[in-house]
């Protein structure tokens, strides 16, 4: 099926690519179906696009590419909702707030989007308050991790 995307034009997706967010995202509780689309093979970024609404698309970043010592716990409740069986199935992404320049842009380390690629489920979880992993972490790439 073809869907209209925020930044990538029209994209052909398969039914099995759809990720279900039972609770939507924080502030967007009604938005329950997303797809993860590659943006550029050289960058640790992707587009988390709503299947239904073109204007709802988030640029997301692989957090470890920007914060090497990033870590998080997934609660038992979240684990159940995401149907996580193996650690390898878990793919975390951080929502990017894009500013005019890359240097001014930030990523949200406090509330990562956790995807279970095996079960095609996703949820935005909230970590315990932690100064090292803030809501707005400057998006400075680590040496050598981004082309």
């Amino acid at each position: 099926m073809k869907i209209a995307t925020k930044f990538l034009g029209e994209v052909d997706i398969a039914e099995q690519d759809i990720l279900t967010f039972e609770q939507g995202l924080l502030g967007l509780e009604e938005e329950k179906e997303f797809v993860l689309l590659p943006i550029d093979a050289d960058l640790p970024l992707a587009l988390l696009q709503s299947v239904l609404h073109m204007e709802i698309g988030f640029v997301v970043a692989y957090p470890f590419a920007f914060k090497k010592d990033y870590s998080f716990d997934i609660s038992e409740e979240d684990r159940e909702q995401l149907q996580i069986e193996k650690e390898e199935d878990v793919l975390p992404y951080s929502i990017v707030t894009m500013k005019e320049t890359f240097q001014d842009s930030t990523i949200n380390l406090l509330a990562p989007v956790i995807l279970n690629m095996a079960k095609k489920r996703g949820k935005q979880i909230v970590l315990q308050d932690n100064k090292a992993f803030p809501l707005r972490y400057p998006m400075q790439p680590l040496e050598g991790s981004v082309k």
């Binding site: 995202l25 640029v59 609660s75 890359f102 809501l135």
Partner: protein, 72 residues
């Protein structure tokens, strides 16, 4: 909404596993102690509001960002 009055060192139970105790009252500030099972998440409500606002801001951000990335 249930409204209860409590004094310092008094507490309330929510269900049989969550206890909220008043540890100190200093002017406008109240210090709470929360005892809850690990599976119960406890957050300040501002945290949720801030994350919601950040999600909205992320959605509103400009699209020329990707062009810039490609130029880099």
């Amino acid at each position: 909404m249930l409204v209860l009055s409590r004094k310092k060192d008094e507490s309330i139970m929510i269900g049989d596993q969550i206890e909220i105790k008043i540890l100190a009252v200093e002017g406008e500030q109240i210090k709470l102690g929360i005892v809850a099972p690990k599976t119960v998440k406890v957050h300040r409500s501002e945290v949720f509001e801030a994350i919601q606002a950040q999600n909205k801001e992320a959605l509103a951000s400009s699209s020329n960002f990707l062009e810039q990335l490609k130029k880099k």
